[in-house]
């Protein structure tokens, strides 16, 4: 039963930490001749995103620097918090979303980024507001509207979130991720389409608007499932990260993206407080920050580099599909991480409350 499982989660994490540290000690002994190099443990998000990171970032860095890089994936905010608070820090670099970063930084659980160690040629292209104290910006992904072009012809496709919510003018099934990140912003934009005045917004009104879709929308448990719904015709339109659409298009599915009113979500590399190989983590950031290195994962992931200089190394046909590219950048806006990070508990509660209203 669930309640019995909750706490052993901590026990399990502890056990995992023990086994991991045993593994690390073992690994350390093996590469002992490489005295100065040491190790680096990166925790990323898995899937094809991490495959690309591994191929283009982690492995080349390991070769160049002699640092032994080990990778892990799969975590959430709760696990990171437990890991850092309990002092069993298993990772030196974590790939985290902006609101997770904000919340962890506010709780004092991240190491400060030493920007003086980041080479000047890396810093030039990073927008000033992305130079965070506790995190290094890497890529941004966009929450977009995607639709099945065989069910919804391009000229009759919904263009705004108001259209997406208009089930009479735009019939068809919609899909979105549910409980973990309900589409509150999109619902708000459906009520009032002004991107500039999106934040702060009324969560209750947003949840009412989501609820008003009733059976016209199905909610998935994860983004992979949303993509699956779009791919197999379970849904005709979806609220989905742009990177999940690329593989569908590549596989020949009749799917298109509508970039209008998209929201961009930056992702960061952060160093958890008490990370065992902090110096290597900074060394890694000093490598990965180079525009031509950053640019390498754009094509395989469809996620755009935050450093604008990286676009010099991205072919135009790839750049067109990335969030932050010159053609579509004006159609969207970045999320307000401070607002979202604060609203997090209320969003979680609002989801449950929506059911009974």
């Amino acid at each position: 039963m669930l309640q019995a499982r909750q706490i052993p989660g901590g026990v399990r994490l502890g056990l995992a930490a023990i086994s991991l540290s045993v593994a690390l000690v073992g690994g350390g002994a093996a590469s002992a001749q490489d005295k100065n190099a040491g190790e680096l443990v990166v925790l990323s998000l898995g899937g094809s995103y991490q495959d690309a990171q591994s191929k283009e970032w982690f492995k080349p860095f390991a070769e160049k620097s002699g640092v032994k890089v080990s990778e892990a994936s799969g975590y959430n905010f709760a696990k990171l918090k437990v890991m850092i608070e309990s002092g069993n820090v298993e990772a030196d670099v974590v790939d985290i979303s902006a609101d997770t970063m904000t919340a962890l930084a506010d709780a004092g659980l991240l190491e400060k980024i030493d920007w003086s160690k980041i080479p000047a040629e890396c810093q030039a292209g990073i927008p000033a507001d992305m130079k965070k104290d506790y995190a290094f910006p890497i890529i941004q992904w966009a929450m977009v509207m995607a639709y099945n072009t065989s069910k919804v012809p391009q000229d009759k496709a919904p263009k705004t979130w108001a259209d997406f919510w208009n089930v009479t003018a735009f019939p068809g099934k919609r899909a979105s991720i549910g409980a973990t990140r309900p589409p509150v912003e999109q619902a708000t934009l459906a009520i009032n389409g002004d991107l500039a005045k999106l934040y702060p917004f009324d969560l209750n009104a947003a949840f009412d608007k989501i609820k008003s879709l009733g059976n016209a929308i199905i909610f998935a448990d994860g983004y992979a499932q949303v993509a699956q719904y779009l791919a197999d015709g379970e849904a005709d339109m979806a609220i989905i990260p742009n990177g999940r659409v690329g593989p569908l298009v590549a596989a020949g599915r009749p799917v298109a993206i509508n970039w209008n009113q998209h929201l961009t979500f930056p992702n960061f590399f952060a160093i958890p407080k008490g990370a065992p190989h902090k110096d290597n983590a900074m060394k890694f950031l000093g490598y990965v920050c180079q525009p031509e290195v950053l640019a390498k994962i754009a094509a395989p992931t469809n996620y755009g580099p935050i450093n604008v200089d990286a676009y010099k190394f991205i072919p135009a046909d790839v750049a067109r599909l990335l969030p932050g590219n010159p053609e579509t950048v004006a159609l969207g806006r970045p999320i307000d991480t401070v607002f979202l990070s604060k609203a997090r508990p209320d969003i979680a509660k609002g989801w449950a409350r929506m059911a009974v209203r």
Partner: protein, 293 residues
């Protein structure tokens, strides 16, 4: 009475206290195991529900002051009861039928009950996504026979969640009923018939009362599991199918309000225990878990 043919829990016919007096230390490993892996986490959970930078009842206050949690708890209990009734309605005839088969067929058909029982719950729930989807088995079949024009929306409905839960928990019910039914002496039915009872009367007057322990054991198991189930409502349901375990998971992973999550867990536990205690006043639980007779 016939001997047991299947090594199921009910086959253990000895009283619970047989070894107690003589070798108490034999219990020690089990007791230590339970204290470390069950007792301690339970204490920790109770602790984290009342302690967050100091003593607090915030989690409990929030539960009692906000009707949303009452609704969710009520829905969770309702889902548990309906699942129980459905599994009982489906499981009882199946178990009855299985017991009556000859041994070869019984083993073969029992595999159909046990193989899903052994498979991963996640996979079995995902299978229902494929079956109930808009392009799924049910909808495409109905559309092919032109019974419907538009695919029926199954996913994200109470029906989908109940179907998923019933399917998932059916083996538990069947195994409980089967073990009890298997131990019922069929000669009692023959005797009843011999004394002039109709087959239906013999069934309801003799057989059904004898299966009561299995019915209660199965019902308890199914209810408790349904109430604590997380995967099925998460995957097959929508916002209207939010159960208490889902709210707890959301508090832990998204809202990070672990005090509330612990308090909600305690409340779910207390309600479950209360139901068991309440039932204990009307049903002999010792007998139920201890054996068929």
């Amino acid at each position: 009475m016939t001997d047991t043919t299947f090594p199921l829990p009910a086959a253990a016919g000895r009283g619970p206290g047989r070894f107690k007096g003589r070798f108490p230390w034999l219990m020690a490993p089990a007791v230590i195991f339970y204290l470390v892996f069950f007792g301690w986490p339970l204490v920790q959970m109770l602790w984290s529900s009342i302690w967050s930078d100091g003593f607090t009842l915030a989690g409990y206050t929030e539960f009692f002051s906000d009707p949303v949690y009452w609704w969710v708890l009520g829905y969770t209990m309702l889902i548990g009861v309906v699942t129980l009734v459905l599994t009982l309605a489906v499981g009882y005839p199946v178990a009855y039928w299985l017991v009556g088969l000859n041994k070869t067929w019984m083993v073969v058909l029992m595999a159909f009950v046990l193989i899903p029982f052994w498979s991963s719950g996640l996979v079995r729930t995902y299978a229902w996504l494929v079956i109930l989807g808009r392009q799924g088995l049910v909808n495409t079949t109905l559309m092919r026979f032109e019974l419907i024009d538009e695919p029926l929306p199954f996913l994200g409905t109470h029906t989908a969640v109940l179907v998923g839960l019933t399917y998932y928990l059916l083996p538990y019910m069947i195994l409980c009923l089967f073990s009890v039914m298997n131990n019922i002496d069929r000669n009692l039915m023959l005797a009843a018939r011999n004394l002039g009872a109709s087959p239906i009367r013999a069934f309801f007057a003799i057989f059904v009362p004898l299966t009561k322990p299995g019915v209660f054991a199965g019902s308890f198991l199914v209810f408790m599991l349904a109430v604590g189930m997380y995967i099925t409502p998460a995957l097959l349901g929508g916002p209207d199918q939010t159960t208490l375990p889902l709210v707890i998971a959301l508090q832990i992973n998204e809202a990070l309000d672990w005090t509330l999550a612990a308090a909600l867990s305690m409340i779910l536990l207390i309600v479950s225990v209360a139901i068991q205690v309440f039932a204990n006043r009307y049903v002999d639980l010792d007998k139920m878990w201890g054996g068929a007779r």
